[in-house]
């Protein structure tokens, strides 16, 4: 699974530590003098292309659910949750993600939904992004491992959507 990729990544690293000398030669007695200013943080990651969008699941593209069905699309974290109460109506697909592994605090969760026509052809996708750890999302009271979700059917597709597939491309627990 990968997001669409663009140009190769090259980084510029400006800071070298708490002061300009940190990361350079040590003056400690007995140590071998070193040439200051050598690369510390890797400035480039060979072969890695910068993503150009949100994550996709190849299993969404490959799915051809029957009319009326909501199926689970394979993703990288399928052994860490269950998807239940999956329902599709004219405007949205809903369900509940229950995290079953290493439950402490749910930091990141994204549910990707694909929408299909009567012949099982993928018409489009949309996603649910649960507000993360740093956002204090006001979901106090909800069990951290249970995340109800709702993904809207894109407005222009509503007349043709008859089935859906949902998967989880992003999941991070404390």
């Amino acid at each position: 699974m990968a997001a669409a990729a663009g140009a190769a990544i090259t980084f510029v690293v400006g800071q070298q530590g708490r002061d300009p000398d940190r990361g350079s030669a040590s003056p400690a007695a007995g140590s071998t003098p070193k040439v200051p200013g050598g690369p510390v943080v890797k400035r480039s990651l060979p072969g890695l292309a910068a993503p150009t969008g949100e994550p996709v699941l190849p299993s969404i593209t490959a799915a051809h659910p029957a009319p009326g069905a909501v199926v689970v699309a394979e993703g990288p974290f399928d052994d860490r949750f269950t998807l239940t109460r999956l329902r599709l109506d004219r405007t949205r697909v809903t369900g509940v993600v229950t995290v079953t592994s290493d439950v402490s605090e749910l930091l990141e969760l994204q549910v990707l939904a694909g929408f299909y026509d009567r012949r099982g052809r993928l018409l489009g996708t949309n996603r649910y992004v649960r507000p993360g750890h740093a956002h204090h999302d006001g979901q106090a009271g909800a069990a951290p491992e249970v995340a109800p979700f709702s993904v809207a059917v894109p407005r222009g597709l509503r007349a043709r959507v008859v089935s859906a597939a949902v998967g989880v491309p992003v999941l991070v627990n404390e």
Binding site: D21, S31, Q110
Partner: protein, 509 residues
Amino acid sequence: MPLPTRAGAAALLVVAGLAGSAAASAASTSAGTRAAAPGSVATAEGHGHIRNVIYLLGDGMGRTHVTAARDRFHGVSGRLNMERLPAVGQVATYAVQPGSGQPGAADFDPEPVTDSASSATAWASGVKTYNAALGIDAKGRIKPTLMELAKRDGYRTGNVSTAEITDATPAAQASHVLARGCQGPTYSAASCQNTEVTGTPLPTSDLRVTPVADQMARNGTADVILGGGLARFDAADEQALRGQGYQILGSPATQTVATEEDLADARRRKVFGLFNTGNLTIEKYKRENPGSTQAKEPTLPRMTRKAISLLSTKRAGSHRGFYLQVEGALIDKRSHANDAAQTLEEIRAFDRAVRVAVNFARKDGHTLVIVTADHECAGFSIIEKGTFTNAEAGTPPRNVDPSNPANNSTPTRSANNKLDPLRSTGPINGSGAADPKSFAPATFRTPDDPESVRDGSPDASLWLSYLSGNHTGEDVPVFGYGPGSRGVDRSIDNTDLFDVMGRALRVTR
């Protein structure tokens, strides 16, 4: 934060020596390795040239966690391996708010309770940062890590954890991201961006929004990578790792987890082995299910031993020594869950990893071992047998003193608290085990108890309870062994650990 002068350190060395001797004597009849003999303490403290640093941390392991594990496994007069180390101190762990300056700056804005990301960045990069940040300061500026500095200067490096290797603690040594949730395998804006810090979203080509797994697989910061989290890596990562010469145990491309046998066969200079798609499995489950697949995962002491072996092997070319970080991650994760039985066994496994490190250091004579934690988790408490906590009571304790009104306080509570039978229905690992709403403590027998006493019984002497399911802001213990260990023999800040280890390795001023 400046460290004490050399003269001050020398004075403290005397105290450390005495403490070490006392610990050695007290520990002589307990389980575990024998403590350093009193006469060897000075050697352990450090006249030697430091070649290696082994840094071990129990995630979420507060002082009470250590004491509880000591009581549970060695009795109240025993000692864990970490407690036998001659240098003992404590570490302040606070974080700062996003955008904050460093301590002493006009815009310094502290956050009393840290998370694992901020704390790990403190010792890895020497700066305070906000919770969730890795390898950057609170203004979002990239800061080199000790592991990167060590690598640059010719040391061999290792990163070992029982968590996903992209989790906050190991990631802090080998990546730089705005948000710890940006682990991979793919980028997403919600998990990787933080416009509270950067103002506007960063381009996806920026290192700070590049998933940790992508960074780790390509930056070569750690020569030896052992832990969990295979699901964070994919086929492209495997290709990148192979291109750098890593021996890959299992396969990210096929999501085949590494095995204990793979680990035993690992020989190369660079090794990448992840033994679970997520976090490694807790010790208690493996002990109770010896035939399970999970029971075949290597333990933390096993991974530590292998990492040391790989890193210390003399190879062609220059070899300055090594820097190894070892994390017992599940202490924190099971503390979040308020499961004392699981937590205690994770601490024991971590302590066995400490023994592995110290045994190596003792033979080597040029290795600094530091053992500490990133923060306390869940307000772990040892309460007196037969007593109860506020969570089990209907009201807080009485604060009215009829005999001395000077002691009165407000709001007035003239009735003493009583155990609420609805909140406390028996030890949660015993008679209250069927009640998920019970706030009662978990009780454990110790080696000091009669043989007939069982865990979960009111007769067991060790009563353990939790304040919450989250981190707390208390200081954490730090222990040290070997040359340079006197640098932790006092109250320090978690950023001081960067200085102690950086100086030991001579990679910082």
